[in-house]
């Protein structure tokens, strides 16, 4: 009886089809809006809505770092320890997206997740989080992603090398996997003892013998270098290593592991956002058809694209009608009218008027 084999899946797809149809009919009532535009007003965390989270708790970790406990909406798909989420917050009215590692146990009874944010100098979002975010705030979210995670078969010996906020993905792994790991060494750098995020918890774990904790207080002891690390952890060649922290630290670790032919035993997660330095002109890449144009700092991207044969939307060509708006996926552009620079990293959702923007560095335009 061949029909029975597909019975359950066809019932499932029938249910889905009916649901889609019901949604479509609901659309007749709400058009030109869609039902979720209204439902979002009543229940923004429901399953099926865009992913959002409610801030449940904000508690300080150090003088410049706070932990946010978030209750994600029903669409949340869970995470693997070590992964990160992108969080979208409105700062001074503008939607900003940043990535932060998840530090929470996967099996929390309250189904909440947690991230820890450290304020960096001039950091727009990190300072907003540390100073302004309150319980009850609604934030936008992306599903957990990243491969800075433990393999299914846990390694016998593990080394975690971290600095500053780089401890966060490692904390996520420790809070979830420590009972499965026999031999863990954590080498963490921070300016002073009080600046060590999760310091008390880490020291408790060390006191109980669950990890070997090495703290490098860089204000007094200076920065960690490869020979110092090798001295601290003589058997580092036998350890599967995860490292997270500033570029300087990761660069020197990668060099050290490479030089010993151990590159595949080192896993790194780079935290520093790609710092976009605005210049004059650059390479403009149109991501849709791959056209690449060299453009100077005085030519509108609209003109540069059209000169290269790209079919670009346009309007008044003087910045008032917004008929030329396109996504700036990545890079920097300068407003030719007043010199304002706009930068974007992937996922920021930045859109620009191409008729009054010139390349201020390399940039990717989605077209």
């Amino acid at each position: 009886m061949t029909t029975l084999v597909h019975g359950s899946s066809s019932a499932g797809s029938l249910r889905k089809r009916l649901k889609d149809r019901a949604w479509q009919v609901a659309g007749y009532v709400t058009t030109p809006l869609v039902p979720s535009d209204y439902l979002d007003m009543l229940s923004p965390l429901r399953t099926g809505a865009d992913l959002r989270a409610r801030v449940v708790e904000v508690h300080p970790e150090t003088r410049d770092a706070v932990t946010l406990v978030l209750r994600p909406g029903g669409s949340w798909r869970g995470h693997v320890p070590g992964q990160y989420i992108r969080i979208g917050l409105d700062v001074e009215g503008v939607r900003q997206w940043r990535a932060y590692s998840l530090t929470s146990p996967v099996e929390r009874t309250d189904a909440c997740i947690a991230i820890t944010v450290k304020a960096i100098p001039d950091g727009v979002v990190s300072n907003h989080v540390v100073q302004r975010v309150r319980p009850g705030d609604l934030v936008h979210l992306d599903q957990a992603t990243g491969d800075f995670t433990l393999p299914a078969s846990r390694p016998e010996k593990v080394l975690f090398v971290t600095a500053g906020s780089g401890i966060t993905p490692v904390m996520g792994m420790l809070r979830n996997h420590l009972h499965e790991l026999d031999d863990v060494v954590v080498v963490h750098s921070a300016p002073t003892r009080d600046d060590v995020i999760f310091g008390p918890e880490l020291r408790r774990l060390a006191a109980r013998g669950q990890v070997r904790l090495v703290e490098q207080h860089t204000d007094d002891e200076g920065m960690l270098d490869a020979p110092a690390l090798a001295a601290l952890v003589p058997d580092l060649a036998e350890r599967e290593t995860w490292a997270c922290g500033p570029t300087g630290l990761l660069d020197l670790l990668e060099e050290h592991w490479d030089s010993r032919g151990l590159a595949d035993r080192l896993h790194t997660e780079r935290f520093r956002p790609t710092v976009v330095v605005a210049g004059e002109g650059g390479t403009v890449r149109f991501t849709g058809n791959g056209t690449v144009v060299e453009s100077d700092g005085a030519t509108p991207i609209l003109d540069a694209g059209e000169a290269a044969g790209v079919l670009m939307p346009s309007g008044c060509r003087m910045g008032i009608c917004y008929g030329c708006v396109l996504p700036l996926r990545e890079g920097a552009v300068r407003d030719l009218r007043n010199g304002d620079v706009t930068t974007a990293a992937p996922g920021d959702g930045v859109r620009i008027q191409t008729c009054i923007s010139a390349a201020a560095g390399n940039c990717d335009i989605d077209l």
């Binding site: 007749y28 809006l33 409105d90 008929g323 708006v325 959702g349």
Partner: protein, 408 residues
């Protein structure tokens, strides 16, 4: 009014080229100050307006489920009319202008917003943002000067069709959202020749409009009435009334923007090589404000600050009130007329123009002159008057194109 370039007393004759450029710099500074200070307060404003509008619409439509009961019909229709006006004016028009793009919210963005109106956002943005705001009040370029069915300036050529323009204006007002859709489609121009009618681009745009209309009509005249069960018919009339109220209100407010006495029009040639300062100046002289309180400002979508809007179409609408005193000060500094007035006065002024210009220029003068000279046979006399008036008009015309008739 006639184009500024042909006036005996040119309102900008006292300005030098350097004056105009300095004016431009001062206006740029006002804009820069607003751009630099956009933030939380502004974002909270538009989110609040959207929230209030959606709640008002939802509750009005809920009340209309019981529209069989006259109080429910009245309350629901009133609420829905206000909700539609808010959505079109303060929210839709302004979001589509890019005023809120800076927030990077994909749901409140000029590239994604679709408004509660028969005309698709994409086509509205083309005819309004791009054409009207670039060629504001230029005879022969800005079709908002009469929408193709009326003449609103002595320098627009007169045709007998315009004799009935008060009626066309009234009909347009009643069905304004469809008038806008037809206008955005350039229906008059495109239906006239077979080539234009069958062009793939026109057909695609026509389909887009029909699809939008279908959604709107289904929502207001099928879906919600059906949901109302026994109140089917009253809900249908309620929705039709709300649409009518929205049409009449928005039409009136929009007429006040560029038709009242005091607003200047411009010759097509005059904008060749126009500098930024000259563009600003044309916006200042080609627009008119409406005076009033907070209710006026929000219900007009802040087009009560039409002058400020035309100077800075992409600044958040809640800021126009704040910069109006600075803008007015510049008018004074440069000896320019800041055209404004209460709503009834401005609407009356606009209608008076529509009525006056339904007749050929100087019709009354030449009519009385002829009547005085000639003798008997009134009918023949009347005919010759009309003929002479139109011949006289042809000598003065600068715009050679036929009007874009929406419906012939």
């Amino acid at each position: 009014m006639t184009v500024l370039q042909k006036k005996s007393e040119n309102p900008i004759a006292h300005l030098t080229a350097e004056d105009i450029e300095e004016l431009g710099r001062q206006l740029d500074a006002i804009r820069a100050q607003v751009v630099a200070s956009r933030g939380d307060r502004d974002a909270a404003y538009i989110r609040k307006v959207i929230d209030v509008q959606r709640k008002l619409e939802l509750s009005s439509r809920a009340v209309l489920l019981f529209s069989l009961f006259p109080p429910a019909w009245l309350a629901g229709t009133a609420g829905l009319s206000v909700a539609k006006i808010l959505e079109n004016m303060e929210i839709g028009h302004n979001v589509m202008h890019g005023q809120w793009d800076w927030m990077r919210d994909p749901k409140i963005h000029s590239t994604t917003w679709e408004w509660d109106n028969a005309s698709p956002a994409e086509q509205w943005k083309h005819s309004h943002n791009e054409l009207h705001h670039t060629y504001t009040n230029v005879i022969g370029r800005d079709n908002d000067l009469g929408y193709g069915i009326m003449r609103v300036d002595e320098d627009q050529r007169w045709y007998p069709f315009y004799l009935a323009q008060p009626l066309w204006n009234f009909i347009n007002a009643c069905f304004f959202e469809y008038g806008i859709a037809a206008y955005d489609l350039e229906l008059g121009k495109n239906l006239r020749s077979k080539k234009r009618r069958s062009s793939p681009e026109f057909k695609a745009r026509g389909k887009q409009v029909l699809r939008k209309i279908r959604g709107q009509v289904t929502k207001d005249y099928v879906a919600h009435p059906v949901l109302s069960g026994p109140s089917f018919l009253p809900t249908l009339t309620a929705n039709a009334t709300a649409n009518l109220v929205r049409n009449l209100w928005t039409h009136s407010v929009i007429m006040c923007g560029h038709f009242p006495e005091g607003v200047e029009t411009f010759e097509r040639r005059s904008i060749q090589g126009e500098t930024r300062g000259e563009w600003y100046l044309r916006q200042m002289l080609g627009s008119a404000n409406i005076s009033g309180g907070r209710a006026m400002h929000i219900m007009s979508g802040n087009l009560s600050y039409q002058i400020e809007h035309h100077l800075f179409p992409d600044l958040p609408s809640n800021r126009y009130q704040e910069i109006a005193p600075k803008v007015q000060a510049l008018f004074e500094q440069y000896g320019l007329r800041y055209t404004t007035g209460p709503l009834p006065a401005q609407v009356a002024s606009a209608w008076a123009k529509v009525i006056r210009l339904s007749l050929p220029n100087d019709f009354v003068e030449s009519a009385t002159k002829k009547l005085g000279r000639k003798a008997t046979r009134p009918a023949a006399r009347l005919l010759s008057l009309v003929r002479e008036a139109t011949e006289q008009d042809a000598d003065e015309v600068t715009d050679d194109r036929e009007p874009d008739l929406v419906a012939v």
